[in-house]
């Protein structure tokens, strides 16, 4: 038996063991995604050492879903800084919107980044540059070219890039040069902030879902991200079945969506929809330390407190509690108690708002009757709860009631 026959026998047996892996679907009729793409001013493609480079320029008046591309320039740099937990402003002009396609969705030394798509705003246009690796053997030249693009801007904007794109690219750089250049760049990962702001109103936190619900972008016949590696391997083998073109398009939609989602995120922070979105925004701003703006946003959040038929979500509850605390600190104890009463009405089982109201009424307003009333109602709610912690709280409330009654 020749070596080749022996190897065939081995591979045949290995193939008998089923393995995970997706079958690539047949390409659908006509890539309808085109319809929703903004029209490019110009598309230039060039072949350089190791790289096929395609630059598409879009007028800032063009739209991606509900958003005009130029809106990114109106975004408050400080808000984006908060969103990235960066500790300083991130001016949108310095943003490098980045999305990569790789030969596998996992990691490791054998996973190549074969397409790097970036978007920058320059000379009054949105310029999307897509760099395609011409083959694994020319990777060093490809990376050199990628680095030229990276240094053009001050910070990264990605979706899930802190966990994925950044590491995949840095691994390639490390393998060839020992450096990890992307790690050093400030980085706004829209996945994390998007999750925080919109989780409560989304079925899941995938980019597709955000696109549909927040950006008004519906992908039609888009190539599944999982199919991209096969398309690339086919292209390397000289099999042109049009799929590589669809990978480019898929990647183009991704980077455009990064821009649009940045606009949407900053809108959520600057002028959120009342209710849950405002609650999440306000809390994010509060954590970031921008108290003034946070309070204004939290006001919007609690404006919708009673309207929420689905029940008060945890962010909104925390928003109301934080806001009440803020009012009390400013000496507006009465407003604080009123807000807590509203929260208590919206949450008929929750004792916390009444406990706080009782404390503020006793210590700050010095209104014995209000305090006693709140404390008694809180105790009533606590009676329904089990556990030693609840018992501890009950005991404290009983003492408070005792104390208040003595002052009668």
């Amino acid at each position: 038996m020749s070596l080749r026959d022996r190897l065939r026998r081995l591979e045949a047996r290995a193939a008998r063991t089923p393995r995970a892996g997706k079958e690539a679907g047949a390409p659908p009729e006509g890539a309808a995604a085109r319809g929703l793409l903004p029209a490019a001013l110009e598309v230039r493609e060039s072949e350089e050492e190791g790289v096929v480079a395609r630059v598409s320029r879009f007028s800032l008046e063009e739209r991606h879903g509900r958003f005009r591309l130029g809106e990114i320039l109106d975004v408050d740099a400080e808000l984006l800084g908060w969103a990235a937990r960066h500790g300083g402003p991130l001016p949108p002009r310095d943003a490098l919107f980045l999305d990569t396609e790789t030969t596998s969705l996992g990691g490791g030394a054998g996973v190549y980044v074969f397409l790097v798509g970036t978007l920058v705003v320059e000379e009054g246009t949105a310029a999307v540059e897509q760099l395609l690796l011409r083959g694994p053997h020319v990777e060093p030249a490809f990376l050199e070219r990628v680095e030229q693009t990276l240094v053009r801007r001050g910070h990264l904007v990605t979706f899930f890039g802190k966990a994925f794109d950044r590491h995949r690219l840095d691994d390639r750089f490390a393998l060839h040069t020992g450096r990890r250049p992307l790690t050093l760049l400030p980085h706004l990962d829209l996945y994390h902030v998007g999750r925080r702001l919109f989780r409560a109103v989304m079925p899941d936190t995938r980019l597709r879902t955000f696109e549909r619900a927040l950006l008004g972008v519906e992908r039609v016949a888009d190539l599944d991200g999982a199919e991209c590696p096969d398309a690339y391997f086919d292209w390397l083998d000289g099999v042109d079945n049009g799929r590589m073109e669809r990978v480019f398009q898929h990647n183009l939609i991704d980077v455009l969506s990064l821009l649009a989602l940045s606009v949407r995120v900053s809108a959520a922070l600057a002028a959120p929809a009342p209710g849950r979105e405002a609650a999440a925004s306000g809390l994010l701003l509060l954590d970031a330390g921008d108290e003034e703006r946070a309070v204004a946003v939290l006001e919007r959040a609690v404006a919708g407190l009673e309207a929420d038929a689905a029940g008060v979500d945890p962010d909104l509850r925390r928003a109301a509690l934080e806001l009440a605390a803020d009012r009390q600190r400013r000496g507006e104890g009465r407003a604080a108690v009123l807000l807590l009463e509203r929260l208590a009405a919206a949450l008929p089982l929750d004792a916390e708002p009444l406990l706080r109201a009782a404390r503020i009424a006793e210590r700050h307003l010095r209104e014995r009757d209000t305090a006693l009333d709140c404390a008694r109602r809180a105790l009533g709610r606590l009676e329904a709860q089990a556990g030693s912690r609840a018992e501890e709280v009950r005991e404290r409330v009983r003492r408070q009631i005792e104390r208040l009654r003595e002052r009668e």
Partner: protein, 728 residues
Amino acid sequence: MTVAERLALFLSDPDLGQSVVAHRVQARREAAGARLPERVDERLAQACRQCGIEELYQHQRRAIDAALASQDVAVVTGTASGKTLCYNLPVLDARLRDGAATALYLFPTKALTQDQIAAADRLIAALGGGIRAGTYDGDTPPQARRALREAGDIVATNPYMLHTGILPNHPKWVRFFRGLRFVVIDEMHGYTGVFGSHVANLMRRLLRICAHYGSRPVFVFCSATLRNPGELAQALGGRPVVVVAEDASPHGERHFLYVNPPLVNRELGLRRNVLEQTRRVVAHFAPFGVKTIVFGGSRNGVELLVKYLKDHYARGGRDPLLVRGYRGGYLPELRRTIERELREAAIEVVVSTNALELGIDIGQLDLCVLAGYPRSRASFFQQAGRAGRRSATSAVILIGRSDPLDQYVVTHPEYLLAGAPEAAAIDPDNLVIRANQMKCAAFELPFRAGEEFGGGDTAEVLDFFASEAGILRKAGDQYYWAARGFPAEEVSLDASDLDNVVIHDVESGRTLAEIDRPSAQLMVHEGAIYQHQGEQYQVLALDWEGRRADLKKVDVDYFTEANVEVDVSVLSEDREQRLAAATALMGDVSVRKTVTMFQKLRFYTGEDVGTGPVHLPAEELETDALILCLDEDLAEKSGLYAGGSGAALPGLASPRFRRPALYLFDDHPGGVGLVERVFEGLDEILRACREVVEGCPCPDGCPSCVGPLAEGADAKRVARAILRVLAP
């Protein structure tokens, strides 16, 4: 009372002493010292003195000199001979001279890793700190992992983690690989067979990555005694090594006693049960201040002995907790506790499976009792090595079972003491192993055309992967990984299946232990009595899909044993070769192992007190097999037919081939190519068999040739007759 005094009483005891069939004494050995090498950094020499290391043993000095001179070295000396220092010293010296120098320590198990890092840490502390040594394995939290990748000087890990975690992700370890000066492979004797062959390929992958980053690490191997340490080290590291094998550490006088339990039924040749004899022997020593380790053979044997010894302690009014069991399957925390208690001498007896054979630090003990011969000389010496003090007397007592192999060993003491341990064999160029490892290597870095990876047909394998399998792509003069997956995940280093069954105590709600899937079928089927630290738990339910067994503590007077049926069916006959009077076939077979029933056996007597059914799906594996079918003439002439003088086994004729047929299969899912090697070298193997049988001086068969006499008085004659025809 000293060991020597207790030993004298033992030998004169009317029951126990009578059973001693041989007694050998190994004389005391004095230490042979040497100075620390001049070239060692003065700060390190100072730190050594601070740790109480004033001078070295000669073997340490030789090993350290070699390593300092960048020579690959293998240190092959006894337990507690100071092997750890042989690598810690050169590694720390290199690090003190060059802040970027790093070292990789490889240990076969997680437990050993923890132990050895502690030794390095003591020296580092004496150096005033500043050197980061840490363990990188499945238990390392993500934060600590990142710290080690980014700044670790000494990283200790195991082959599994190296295989799937470190090598395939080398771009995250660039600093570490650039600075890599030493690769330490401790417990080298554990790297044999399939596992060792994989580890040798791991080293090939490691060295390719080092070459990419411009480093060339030196290997330091440490091992227990082997017949061929230099050969094994060279096979693992791929380069010739300096072997340091003369142990210059001191030890006290050591007694080897061979015990054959008394006959209880002369007609049937039945002897007193080995566990009962072991219990009596241990009871003679342990409660009198003799720190004892007992190797109980199987897991069941260990648990029974723990129970018997605890009963004995309780009857004598002593604390049963002075007796502890130790085996795989106990949770790590319990094992660490027992190890610590042993070092601190808080327990008197530990009963273990071969889990304590490896170099886990439990201090030195006075007495080692082996309940049965552990089936290889290498294991025997490993286990015996657990007893031994620097200056005081120690003893090793081997107790024979009734079976023929044990009987041969205890009645031929020279067989063990004169012979060297078995040779450790690995085959890194085994096609299945190497081809799979080449996939992993190609994932890590492209192959250059003309690059070698072990054996000579690298180019052909690469071409196959590129042109037919479609997992590599040739571009320029290199082969690149061009597939999705993560090949290391699909290549298992040994047959161990990580798919464990959790053993759950329904009363405490706690996890008692974990057990690998194949053993679970035998030990935690419904109705089984599972023993843990000498206590009995009954299996109430086994959720096979959920990999969970629910147990409840019970008080019963029996234990259980499961019966397994093995069924081999031939799927394909792919290759055939004609021998003088037989046909050898190679093909795929399906092996089904079914647990059909279990027996209840009474404690102490082993009396059969009942049976129960087991309903579990068969474990099935597809693998390679070689089938040797004897021609009818030869079978006839040799007496290999029903009722013939050579028919020791009933139903010898295979139903498929209607002739006597010998099946050899790789007991590893998918096969690992062992069968193929046998098939290719069948002539040579048969000739070697003939030489062994004809060259053996025994008259009618022994464990060294055709097996013990119980195979039939005619076994040797028949085997010789067959081999003379097959290997003329």
